[in-house]
Amino acid sequence: MILCLFLAAVLPITVSRLMSSFEKGIFSRATATPAVIGAEGSRLDLALQSLYFNRKLEGTLPYSEYKRIVAAGDVKAIPIHVKHTARDYPIVATTNEYFSFRSLRFEQGRPFGVIGECVVGASVAAALQLKEGYGVLSDRPDLLGLAGDYPLKMKVVGVLEKQNSADDAAVFVDLKTQWVIEGFGHGHQDLESEGQAENVKRESDRIVALPSKVVPYTEIMPENLASFHFHGALDDFPVSAIIIEAPDVKRETIFEAKYQNNDRGLQFIRPVESLETLMSTLFKVKRLINVNTWLIGISTALLMGLVVLLSLKLRQNEMETMFKIGCERKMIATIQLTEMGIILAVGLGLAVAFAVLLDWLATRGLENWIAGQ
């Protein structure tokens, strides 16, 4: 009977707890991200990318849009650009303001200072065994591209504390570092310097780099930092999304109005609203489970009632004997009710304990799971 009760109760309790944890988890991050602007397209993709860095957006907006918002000074703006990965973890290009915006604390090191530096989330650091001072390579987006850019070896200057959020599984860089990875900027090696003597072959009219000495990645170091530069205006370079934090509802509404029916191909979204659309589908499934739960509950109760009645019938002689030796009918009823109570308590208790355990395990990986979708 305990097993029967456990099986009947475990599914609805677990589903209910998981759904509420999922809802809490997903909405807490969305609520902490009041508004986002991005290129026109899927609102849900834009919300998911700005929250979990897991969608590749078709459209981008120019960096000048971010500068324009900052110059206006009405709201706080934090740009995000996600396009590449490093060892399969998303490279999130942003500004140092992102860390304070998400209240991220550093376990080691500091925020990025110059291009080529990165800050890694706790999960990335643990999985790739990275520490301050280590290097991590960006992934090549197209392995077959003959003219593909070299990966960038980024120096880890900071490791974030564990947050149980998508930030744990991200590699944070400055926007300019991302633009170098994208090929908008590059540096030059001085092949004539003494340090390069072993790496080059001097011919009569030229200096040729020896193929075996060519490093298969780019690394920005103090020695070559000054040679890095960008081709084109930074204002035209891409940004995936801009997180907006307005000081009050009034200014957020005024800001939103500027992006309604604009002819610049931009859209304003509130991630909470986008996620509510997503969650409404999940809630339909939950409602189905709820109906199912009621049906199972009723059938289990009927089954339990039948079993109890049969049990009482079978134990009638035992009860008669107890009555004859002096036990009051009230006491007999109490004993039977206690037995029932113990069965109910143990069965339901096991179900709740199982649900709590599953919820705890699921919560730990919930954000990462969402990020992986």
């Binding site: 971010y66 500068k67 900052v70 000074g73 706080k76 703006a77 500004t95 140092n96 303001e97 500091r110 925020p111 990025f112 200072g113 110059v114 291009i115 530096e117 400055d174 300019k176 090929g183 900027g185 590059h186 103090p222 930092l225 000054a226 890095f228 530069h229 960008f230 081709h231 084109g232 930074l234």
Partner: protein
């Protein structure tokens, strides 16, 4: 006896707890007293010497104004501590895209909201100087080989524009520290007077140059903001590095005006090494002009910058006065 012992224990506990309170009060008091001494001044960063000087003159002792040394010695490269100090600064004063004085800003992570382009608000488009015959050529990327004219960053050599920049600095600093408005405005008034006196001196020198019929050539376009402040037409060489003496003499001879006009060559820094040779060979007056890119000592006020600016005009004035028909 037992009751007495209880009283004794109670009294002891009370005394200890009072001592505890008294100790904690002292600690809190000390912390409160210590707080002002541990409070650091606000930090403002500037990318060039003139901006640093003007900001310092406006804020006085209220804030520390820092300037990364990479600007005055690019070969030294970017220093991590300086970068972090700039990131932590409340305001970062720069020239602006039309007169970009710090290309290295593209290589560091700064919060855009703290960066102020001091040439954006108060400058007219005609105030910027674009040098068509000195172009930067690139031959990389999808665009192939292309070039663009050089934009001169040395706007601080013109006192009128320096005053415009100082207004931008003042407005931004008041926005950042509204409670300091009166102090900053008072300090700015003194700065403005000093810059206006230099501007008046520039006017005097301009009249003198015209009266003496002098032809003024700049050794390179970096001095164009200085020559334009003297209401002179752009007339410059491209001597960014020290040229060979013979080539320099030839080039200067070609630029020599006809008739009675006399030639003054304004030279920036290293070109002045040829001063005596050029003067002897061409008869031109060769005058060093400071680009005011840095100073050996950190400025206590704008006086160092303004003194250097004034000295540029004063030197030219002395030369012009000495050149009689």
């Amino acid at each position: 006896m037992n009751r007495h012992r209880e009283y004794l224990v109670l009294a002891l506990m009370l005394t200890l707890s009072l001592m505890g309170c008294s100790t904690s009060e002292t600690t809190s008091g000390e912390a409160a007293n210590a707080k002002p001494s541990t409070q650091t001044k606000p930090v403002i960063a500037a990318t060039n010497f003139a901006l640093q000087s003007m900001a310092k003159a406006i804020v006085g002792d209220f804030a520390d104004v820092i300037r990364p040394q990479v600007q005055s010695s690019p070969q030294r490269g970017l220093d991590t501590e300086e970068v972090i100090a700039m990131q932590n600064a409340d305001v970062v004063l720069t020239n602006g895209p039309g007169a970009n004085d710090a290309a290295w800003l593209d290589l560091i992570s700064l919060n855009e909201s703290r960066v102020v382009a001091t040439t954006s608000d108060e400058f007219e488009l005609s105030d910027f100087i674009q040098v068509e015959d000195y172009r930067t050529v690139h031959s990389h990327g999808d665009e192939g080989e292309h070039s663009h004219p050089w934009l001169v960053p040395h706007c601080w050599l013109n006192p009128r524009l320096a005053h415009s920049q100082s207004l931008s600095i003042l407005n931004r600093l008041i926005a950042a520290y509204p409670d300091q408005k009166e102090t900053f405005s008072a300090h700015h008034k003194s700065l403005k007077q000093e810059l206006q006196s230099v501007e008046a001196l520039a006017g005097e020198v301009a009249e003198l140059i015209q009266a003496r019929n002098l032809t003024v050539i700049a050794s390179d376009p970096r001095l164009l903001f200085f020559t334009r402040s003297l209401k002179l037409d752009d007339n410059y060489l491209l001597w960014f590095e020290l040229p060979e003496a013979s080539a320099a003499i030839d080039e200067l001879e070609k630029r020599k005006p006809g008739g009675q006009a006399k030639l003054v060559l304004l030279c920036a820094q290293e070109t002045c090494a040829l001063k005596s040779q050029l003067e002897e060979a061409t008869g031109a007056a060769v005058l060093p002009v400071s680009l005011i890119e840095s100073a050996e000592v950190e400025p206590d006020s704008a006086r160092d910058y303004i003194a250097m600016l004034r000295e540029n005009y004063q030197r030219l004035k002395s030369v012009a006065e000495g050149m009689t028909d």
